[in-house]
């Protein structure tokens, strides 16, 4: 209990620090770039329109068909997308206690009648494509992919420009602006036309890939947790060389470091260690066509390190043989079977899903001492760990061009963003979905039957905020931290504290700004091809003989450049120079 209290306090502190850091962070859109003095143009839309604070006038309300309580005088009908995860034991996403509660509440609050439209969680873009072709996209839609999916359909004229509504009626949507601010609402605003085709919801946890190592193997071999790349490599070598000691008769199943075909996701901690400590905003923007700053030299050096480790027998030999479609649970199963020394995952990856978590399953196979612990072994050239993360944007919300009720649709989004609404959806019913401890902490319960939450914390309904991997957004950082500590039943709290310290720590995190310079024309319609080529290049470079590494990597880069990446980088350089001149940082 004492440990749990200490952990709770530690987490509460981390969460509080995170909130403070977020409050204190510079806002690249609000503050606007301090452009180099001279003739450089200042894009008018870099500064978004102000929020209208005054209460809407009667004439405005009348024009919109609303009363003074923002309730439509006549019932309006809209359709709203809802992800269908087809969970085993789940409820119909469009007909359950939560979806029906929302329907009732929004009808009462705004006189808006909603009809849910199911969108496959894993087939969302395909489903939307069909619906776009049939002009049947729900009035409120959301998807993760802005750069490829939403951009393609906005170019076809399929998505409504939200700027006129947001700029003119911001006082009608106070909850949206409270939570998301102008930075998020105008996240994708075109600097020249002001067109704003979608805005992102807020994600309450950093999008960080962490590194987890077998703590019990370190103990068996008398090794410390690695804190440098060399120490990390030494650990992998030790795992490889002591396979019989660590795995017994399964020694030939040893995988010191699990790599998968999705190298660009797995290599992020290592890549962050290869970025120079003086990485500039210009570097981030100019190299930003493909994740993660592919054209920055740090990428090649990171892949070179992986090439070395592969040829030393430290990586999963078969990693390049699979694709998204064919990998299935092969890699996860190897981790759960206890054959893997190190793997990369989300902040809570080893511990999420209770008794089905990687850690719990591994302990079933191996024994209670088997455990993964988060490490930070990749400091940069100044000896510090600095994790480069994107802003906390989540799914993008859009209204299709067929939407004839944009105000009602945005009022629905405003309703779903109300603190009391999203809190109820996140934590559910007391005694069924959660209990409240004496200190105010919320402990979630694994509800079943009609009260089951089909998505973690009902994020599929609370589309303007995603608290998955984080604590409920209760408006109180201390209470949130205390709640987070209770979110992983069955896991020793020290592991949770360690991974939050390693992977959700504002002190070791650098957030990339939203530069607000608009879409890059050369990136339109080519990103998926370039991503595929990048993945292909990474894999072939990693498995190449060390002597062939440069030739394989450089040939891959040449192909990428010739396939559209060169044009994209050039356009980015020109765009940067247009708005920021020779500045290296937007605050210069």
């Amino acid at each position: 209990m004492k440990t749990r209290k200490l952990l709770s306090l530690a987490l509460a502190l981390i969460m509080a620090l995170g909130m403070l850091a977020a409050c204190g962070s510079s806002d690249p859109v609000d503050s606007g770039p301090t452009a180099t003095p001279g003739a450089l143009p200042t894009p008018p839309s870099v500064t978004p329109p102000p929020i209208i604070e005054d209460t809407p006038t009667d004439s405005v309300l009348l024009e919109l068909g609303l009363d003074e309580n923002l309730r439509f005088l006549e019932t309006r009908k809209i359709t709203v997308a809802i992800f269908d995860r087809e969970n085993d034991g789940g409820t119909p996403p469009d007909d359950n206690v939560f979806s029906n509660w929302i329907k009732d509440q929004v009808l009462e609050a705004h006189n808006i009648e909603i009809e849910w439209v199911r969108i496959g969680r894993w087939t969302g873009t395909d489903d939307y494509s069909r619906l776009f072709a049939a002009n049947a996209v729900p009035d409120v839609g959301y998807e993760y992919d802005f750069e490829i999916f939403m951009r393609a359909f906005s170019e076809m004229g399929g998505i409504l420009d939200l700027y006129p509504y947001m700029s003119e009626y911001s006082n009608i949507f106070p909850n949206l602006f409270d939570l998301l601010g102008t930075e998020f609402i105008y996240w994708n605003m075109d600097p020249e036309t002001n067109q704003t085709f979608a805005f992102p919801g807020k994600r309450m946890a950093y999008n960080i890939v962490g590194t987890f190592i077998r703590e019990d193997w370190l103990n068996t071999l008398g090794l410390d947790e690695p804190t440098t790349i060399q120490e990390f490599e030494d650990c992998l070598v030790a795992f490889r060389d002591n396979a019989e000691l660590l795995l017994g008769e399964n020694a030939d199943r040893m995988i010191p470091y699990m790599m998968t075909h999705d190298v660009r996701w797995n290599y992020r901690p290592l890549l962050d260690g290869h970025f120079p400590s003086d990485l500039s905003d210009r570097d981030i923007y100019v190299n930003g066509s493909l994740e993660y700053l592919l054209t920055h030299p740090a990428n090649k050096e990171t892949i070179r390190t992986l090439n070395k480790w592969y040829n030393m027998g430290l990586l999963w030999y078969d990693f390049g043989l699979y694709t998204n479609e064919t990998l299935g649970s092969i890699a996860d199963d190897r981790i759960k079977q206890g054959h893997v020394g190190v793997f990369n995952g989300n902040t809570d990856q080893p511990y999420r899903s209770g008794e089905n978590s990687h850690q719990a399953k591994m302990q079933e196979f191996v024994g209670p001492d088997a455990a993964y612990i988060a490490i930070s072994p990749f400091p940069n050239d100044s000896g510090e760990v600095s994790r480069l993360v994107s802003q906390d944007v989540d799914r993008f919300i859009f209204l299709p061009h067929t939407n004839t009720e944009p105000i009602a649709s945005l009022l629905y989004l405003d309703f779903i963003t109300r603190r009391e609404v999203r809190e109820y959806l996140q934590i559910g019913e007391e005694g069924i979905n959660h209990i409240v401890h004496d200190n105010g902490a919320i402990e979630k319960l694994p509800a079943t039957g009609e009260w089951i939450q089909n998505s973690p914390d009902n994020i599929d309904y609370t589309i303007t905020i995603n608290i998955s991997n984080a604590a409920p957004s209760l408006g109180d950082p201390v209470r949130e931290g205390l709640s987070a500590a209770l979110a992983f039943p069955g896991t020793d709290p020290k592991y949770i504290a360690k991974t939050f310290e390693a992977n959700q720590n504002p002190a070791t995190t650098r957030t990339t700004p939203n530069f607000g310079l608009g879409a890059i024309e050369a990136e339109s319609g080519v990103i998926i091809d370039l991503n595929t080529k990048r993945n292909n290049m990474f894999i072939n470079a990693i498995v190449a003989a060390p002597a062939d590494f440069d030739a394989v990597y450089d040939a891959g880069m040449q192909d990428l450049m010739a396939s559209g990446l060169r044009a994209a980088v050039d356009e980015r350089i020109a765009r940067w120079e247009l708005y920021y001149g020779d500045a290296e940082f937007i605050s210069d």
Binding site: M156, G320, H401, G525
Partner: protein, 320 residues
């Protein structure tokens, strides 16, 4: 005519409605047959011909939201874009290469198997073998991929484990381009050979057994009988199937290359159907890939026409 096939003369008589039987009378007499034709004809009209309207997308801006005829025309821009894309040429090369290998190795395989099965004396063994051989036809490529990985994976595939235990190095069946191509072709033959054999076995059973008996009396051995009776007897079937296969030379299925490929062999494994899927559906470049699809169809048609023309030139009936 014991075979039931009409002679040319009989056909002419039927067409001309001789013996006082007009075409209309024939229609009235066999109206049930014509009514039964309505459904398949409707299928072809609705699902095969009407959608061809959307081939116009190949000449229009990329837009699936506006009604087709409101989308502006762009001439041959989509074709120019495709032909200017190095990935298109790479996919075209791979499509040709894999399909030619499929035809080169896969086309004779069922013929050979059919002949072997036909020569078997033990009929029960023949039936069992035939059944086992065509079973893989009913497996999806996803299942075949799973089986193949369990057998041929580098570190934990059964074949490589056995080879390692026997003191041999593992073979990279999937992760080296040349090996992957060989594995791809082999799995294709394994999956389809039994099914295609049925067609040739059916053709062989239509050969008059008296021909074999006469040849045996004349002293022809087994190989002679195969060469001079069996093969000529199934030649029309071989030619028709070859012509139809030629139509797929630039096309082919999507599932097999999509499932079997992996990032280490994309350079040889990305074929046109995969290109169309990734560019069209994943990248939302619908007009571009309609143009590519149209290109495939037109070239495929030329291959069929060319093969048919060639077959007729060398004395075969061809398709018509």
């Amino acid at each position: 005519m014991s075979s039931g096939v009409l002679t040319k003369r009989q056909q002419n008589r039927l067409d001309k409605g001789v013996s006082g039987t007009s075409k209309w009378t024939l229609v009235k007499r066999y109206w049930v047959l014509y009514v039964m034709l309505i459904l398949p004809m409707a299928y072809f009209v609705i699902f095969r011909y009407l959608p061809m309207e959307y081939l116009a997308m190949a000449f229009k801006e990329n837009n699936i939201i506006k009604p087709l005829w409101e989308v502006p025309w762009v001439g041959l821009k989509n074709f120019e874009r495709a032909f200017g894309d190095r990935d298109f040429w790479n996919a075209l090369r791979n499509t040709f290469m894999l399909n030619i290998l499929d035809i080169g190795f896969g086309f004779p395989a069922p013929i050979i198997l059919a002949i072997i099965l036909n020569e078997l004396v033990f009929k029960r063994f023949k039936r069992v073998t035939q059944t086992i051989a065509y079973m893989p036809h009913f497996l999806s490529w996803v299942i075949i991929y799973g089986l193949a990985m369990r057998l041929f994976a580098p570190t934990d595939g059964l074949v490589n484990i056995l080879m390692n235990r026997a003191g041999y190095e593992s073979i990279s069946f999937f992760d080296k381009p040349n090996n992957w191509v060989a594995t791809y072709v082999f799995l294709g033959i394994w999956q389809s050979v039994g099914w295609n054999t049925i067609i040739y076995l059916a053709a062989i059973t239509n050969i008059n057994p008296e021909l074999y008996e006469a040849a045996a009396v004349d002293g022809a051995g087994r190989l002679r009988r195969i060469w001079h009776i069996t093969l000529p007897g199934i030649k029309p079937t071989i030619v028709v199937l070859l012509i139809l296969t030629m139509g797929g030379l630039i096309g082919g299925g999507f599932e097999r290359p999509w499932v079997l490929r992996n990032p280490m062999v994309y350079d040889v494994a990305t074929v046109l159907p995969v290109y169309v899927y990734t560019k069209g559906l994943l990248n939302y470049q619908f007009s571009l890939t309609t143009a590519v699809g149209m290109f495939q169809s037109v070239v495929g048609l030329f291959f069929v026409l060319g093969a048919n023309f060639f077959a007729r030139k060398v004395g075969e009936r061809g398709l018509w």
